[in-house]
């Protein structure tokens, strides 16, 4: 009951903030479109970072193919809304409006998430048997292959990109799904399955010896993570109204990795912090134009040398402030993962 109330409260709150930001609630009160866009992209990044952290941070499997799943979600959901959007509205007897748009968007995102998770399964089953660097390079390879295959599908524009996607996503949906992603990952990590994942991260061989079906657990985590990346991709497509395969190169995967590494691998609030910091820094340094990425990459290297576990490390934000010792998922005396 408390959970339902909290959820309703969150949704209403998001709707109010959405109205305030876009100027539909109180006439004259709104923020600049540029700032709103930065805010929305930050929200999408939060979803991506939190979902990738499930596999990279909590399960300890280094995957660099997240952009591929995001691409699948983006293209699949966009293809659905462009092709079938009107017939869905008609089937529900709804005019183009908030209700109709929401249903179309939700079905589109569900399709995107489904296809991304299927792809996650296909990629995960063979590659998660590999370890460490091999897994990293294979996921990178799969991510690039997904991109190349989408590039060769003419129905979604090929190299021209996919234009004419209706603008269905907004602040409300983006942050609603970001909250959902945080909730899902939080619940997973604090369940017995979450402890399984953390056990795999800490010592895969020991976990296997204790009777954990490691490949199965890893694949489940990977599929869930891919599905969330698919949703983020769908939101991305329906917010910017145009997608191009160039947005989903492995550099995008690197970006997401940078976010979770800055915040701290294995920390949900760390991922949120990392995503927000990343976008703040990249946008904030925009006036330095060409020096922006230079400073950013330098910052990353310096951070790795000075504080390799990221800002929060394994800890969550609250524990980071109050108790400085240990927190969820960190056995006493261990630091980092191999």
């Amino acid at each position: 009951m408390k959970g339902v109330l909290a959820a309703v409260g969150l949704l209403v709150g998001l709707l109010v903030v959405n109205g305030l930001l876009t100027g539909t609630l109180v006439p004259g009160v709104s923020i600049s479109p540029y700032f709103l866009q930065v805010l929305c992209l930050a929200g999408i990044n939060i979803t991506l970072a939190v979902s990738l952290n499930l596999i990279n941070g909590f399960t300890g499997q280094f995957s660099i193919g997240h952009a591929g799943f995001m691409a699948i979600g983006a293209y699949a959901s966009a293809f659905f809304t462009v092709t079938f959007g009107d017939s869905v509205r008609k089937a529900f007897g709804l005019l183009p409006g908030f209700a109709g748009d929401s249903i179309v968007l939700l079905i589109g995102l569900a399709i995107g998430a489904l296809l991304a998770s299927i792809a996650g399964f296909i990629v995960g089953v063979p590659s998660l048997r590999l370890r460490g660097d091999y897994l990293a390079i294979v996921t990178l390879g799969f991510g690039e292959m997904i991109r190349v295959f989408i590039l060769n599908i003419d129905a979604v524009g090929g190299a021209r990109g996919f234009a004419g996607i209706p603008k269905l996503a907004n602040f409300f949906w983006i942050y609603g799904f970001a909250a959902l992603a945080i909730l899902i990952v939080y619940r997973i990590v604090h369940s017995s399955f979450g402890r399984t994942l953390i056990a795999i991260r800490e010592d895969e061989i020991a976990a296997e010896a204790m009777g954990v079906h490691t490949t199965r657990a890893k694949v489940i985590a990977f599929v869930v993570s891919a599905a969330m990346a698919g949703v983020a991709g769908g939101l991305f497509a329906h917010y910017l109204m145009y997608v191009n395969t160039n947005s989903f190169t492995f550099l995008k995967s690197f970006e997401i990795i940078i976010m979770i590494v800055i915040g701290g691998l294995g920390s949900i609030s760390g991922s949120v912090l990392g995503a927000v910091l990343y976008i703040t820094l990249t946008e904030g340094l925009r006036e330095f134009a060409q020096y922006r990425m230079l400073m950013f990459s330098l910052l990353l290297v310096v951070l790795m040398i000075v504080r390799p576990q990221g800002i929060l490390g394994h800890k969550e934000f609250v524990t980071f402030l109050t108790r400085r010792r240990r927190s969820i998922g960190e056995a006493p005396g261990t630091a980092g993962n191999a």
Partner: protein, 298 residues
């Protein structure tokens, strides 16, 4: 058949470039267990140093001597760059987890790419021709002098590297360090020095590859290292990472199959084929074609 032979020649010359870069990956991975993402960018810097050096020599007639000078100059510059990268970025985090090293490498790679866009300018540059150009027709197959140079020079460098590793004291130490870093330190080998030598040699080979690609495909840009670097890494893994003959074999395989896919299928799949082969090989033979099986110790 002639078309096939022609593609094969093109593939081998592209593959030699991949092989040269792959050697650097495999050598660094052998000692540090690190995917040196910045290696592809060292290759790019090599091409640019070659470009600026050859502009200096432009008054002269194109000749083999000036080509040689450019290549050696670029190799020295990149060897220094490689040592610098290792000293400033990788050494401080060498004892941290593998993931930290990997992310540092990604950071260094992004840094070099962006610095290169500032220093060299983001637009592609056109490599001046260094050596006199000639075409040879053998059994209906066209061989350009650039292709022959690429193949001969890269084979020569690989043989030299192999001799260095097998016949010299430093080479012996390199093999020992890649076998076990800690044990070789205990035996009195200066591991820091050997790691620096690894970076220097690998980077010099990448620089040679950069100059060779400049001679063959005369368009260079600051982001050219990304794809070449990735494919060369794939080649190194394919052949069995840590194995030097494996890197050469992997490079030739990736180069040939890429040219074949472009020739017979579609050029849009050229970047997918390398990864496709890699995935299949890793699933069947995770240690790579010529790699050693590493037993996992509990």
């Amino acid at each position: 058949m002639t078309t096939f032979l022609q593609q094969l020649v093109n593939g081998v010359s592209l593959g030699s470039i991949y092989a040269l870069i792959a050697l650097g990956y495999t050598m660094v991975y052998g000692v540090l267990r690190l995917i040196n993402f910045a290696h592809g960018d060292v290759y790019m810097v090599g091409a640019y140093v070659g470009y600026y050096l050859s502009r200096r020599l432009q008054g002269r007639e194109p000749s083999m001597v000036s080509a040689l000078l450019v290549m050696i100059g670029s190799m020295i510059a990149c060897a220094l760059l490689g040592i610098l990268i290792e000293r400033l970025a990788y050494r401080p985090v060498r004892r941290e987890s593998r993931l930290t090293l990997l992310i540092t490498a990604i950071g260094v790679s992004l840094f070099i790419e962006n610095a290169a866009q500032l220093v060299f300018g983001p637009d592609p540059k056109f490599f001046p021709s260094l050596a006199p150009h000639a075409d040879f027709i053998v059994a209906g197959v066209r061989l350009t002098s650039e292709q022959i140079t690429v193949i001969v020079v890269s084979m020569l460098l690989m043989v030299l590297l192999r001799l260095f590793i097998l016949k010299t004291r430093t080479g012996k130490a390199m093999r020992a360090v890649s076998f076990s870093l800690d044990a070789s330190r205990l035996m009195g080998i200066s591991t820091d020095w050997i790691i620096a030598v690894n970076f220097a040699l690998g980077s010099a080979l990448a620089a040679a590859a950069g100059v060779l690609i400049g001679m063959q495909i005369p368009k260079i840009d600051p982001l050219m290292g990304i794809m070449y670097g990735l494919k060369a890494f794939v080649a190194a893994v394919l052949g069995g990472i840590g194995s030097i003959p494996g890197a050469v074999l992997g490079g030739l395989l990736i180069g040939t199959s890429e040219v074949m896919v472009v020739g017979y299928l579609s050029s849009t799949y050229r970047d997918a084929i390398a990864f496709g082969i890699l995935i299949v090989v890793l699933l069947i033979r995770p240690q790579g074609l010529l790699g050693r099986v590493q037993k996992e110790k509990v």
